[in-house]
Symmetry: D2
Subunit: 139 residues, 4 copies
């Protein structure tokens, strides 16, 4: 996908469908989280490792635009990139596709906080660096 | 709430919390749906009645902004209004509050489709009228 | 309900339905938890109050028998009783009904643990007493 | 695993954790379903293919015994076997392990029904045969 260098695969679970016979729209919000976790595993040692340093990443905004319905057992590709990392804030952008067809677009915003105080705390330098490397344009 | 004439109450379930100790952000997307269902029950005979006429309302967009975390067992008030009903499309706006404090703002967009063909179909006149009456400014 | 003195009401959410057009079977496991929370609120000051004393109640067993399907927006009555409280262990039994018709039977087992160490810890006497009073046969 | 010839892998999602810091007990009921779907894909052409023949498999009973908690991002192995297939009824048994340690045991019961009438209908011979072959003891 143009502009995205990372993707992960999702399979629609039966429990994620609804009485319209499609994947429920709230399930996609979970798919985005699964993609962030996979992204952090690929580039930054995993989300749990970040949590273990005493930081939580809160979700401060979710935006999802649904272009097509998805159905039980379909394989979806979640293209994911991390952008606008600054201080204690960062943003992810997503495109979910099914065999190259756009199903969902979205973005989420996040803030890192101290796990004990829930006060904003800067994204650690090692994590910011890891993301910068992951998102650096290929030469 | 200024500009909202309808609200419904939500209680945060334990299953809706996450390992951050707060209500998971995806749970709020479900809360908005619960509020729409309550709204349609109050003003338009219920969502199931609408489905029974052969129409499904798809969710085409979700936007949620999280201002505060919510916690297990808290009572939240979901202020809800329906706006911009036109043809086969309409929009809901929400403010979720806890004891008057803003927790979440959001809006969702929807399209009505024929239940069999999934083709767009106008919101029936009776439903558009019911919503117009519900949202009419008090004299 | 014979043998049950407590019940709470559940309304099936659209997000809880699945592509079979019915409430997904896992949703009922959450309904049982909602009923336990309501039970503890009615008789023992609420589950959060118990958690605040440094105790967590783990679920160690779930059994659900599905007699009828339930559908979107239906109101279900969850009859609930707490039994076999002994040491760090207790059990709940449930009957979920729709207008007097049996939909689901179930029981769950639980163990109280210390919130920090996750070691088993006896149910506090005040809580055991509150439950004993709640379940005492009417004279 | 002794007595099991099929397993699938699950990764605990953050959305599946709860405020106890562990995977919520209801999430495991979904994991069992994911395992059934993977089983049917491996041995019987997939659950959707079965649904496409006009049959739905209802879940009539769920039993889960929790031996250990599971945590965010852990990889779990869900050992799965189908047993007691007779007429319109069958049963699955499960052992969920983490690195060889037992986390959860469970079983579920199911009934096949006609998709239109919801009347019980025998498991089709081709599916019964496929399962019999899958579960045949290795010579």
């Amino acid at each position: 996908m143009d502009g995205f260098s990372f993707s992960t695969e999702i399979r629609v679970r039966f429990a994620e469908t609804d009485a319209q016979g499609i994947a429920h729209h709230a399930a996609f919000v979970v798919f985005l989280e699964v993609a962030r976790v996979a992204y952090l595993e690929a580039y930054a040692g995993g989300y749990q490792a970040i949590r273990d340093t005493g930081i939580e990443a809160l979700t401060t905004e979710v935006h999802v635009k649904y272009h097509q319905a998805a159905y039980f057992d379909e394989r979806l590709t979640v293209w994911t990139r991390c952008t606008d990392l600054r201080g204690a804030r960062f943003r992810y952008e997503y495109r979910i596709e099914r065999e190259g067809e756009l199903v969902v677009e979205g973005h989420t915003s996040h803030a890192t906080v101290d796990r004990e105080t829930y006060r904003p705390t800067r994204v650690p330098a090692w994590l910011a660096d890891a993301i910068a490397r992951a998102e650096a344009p290929a030469a």
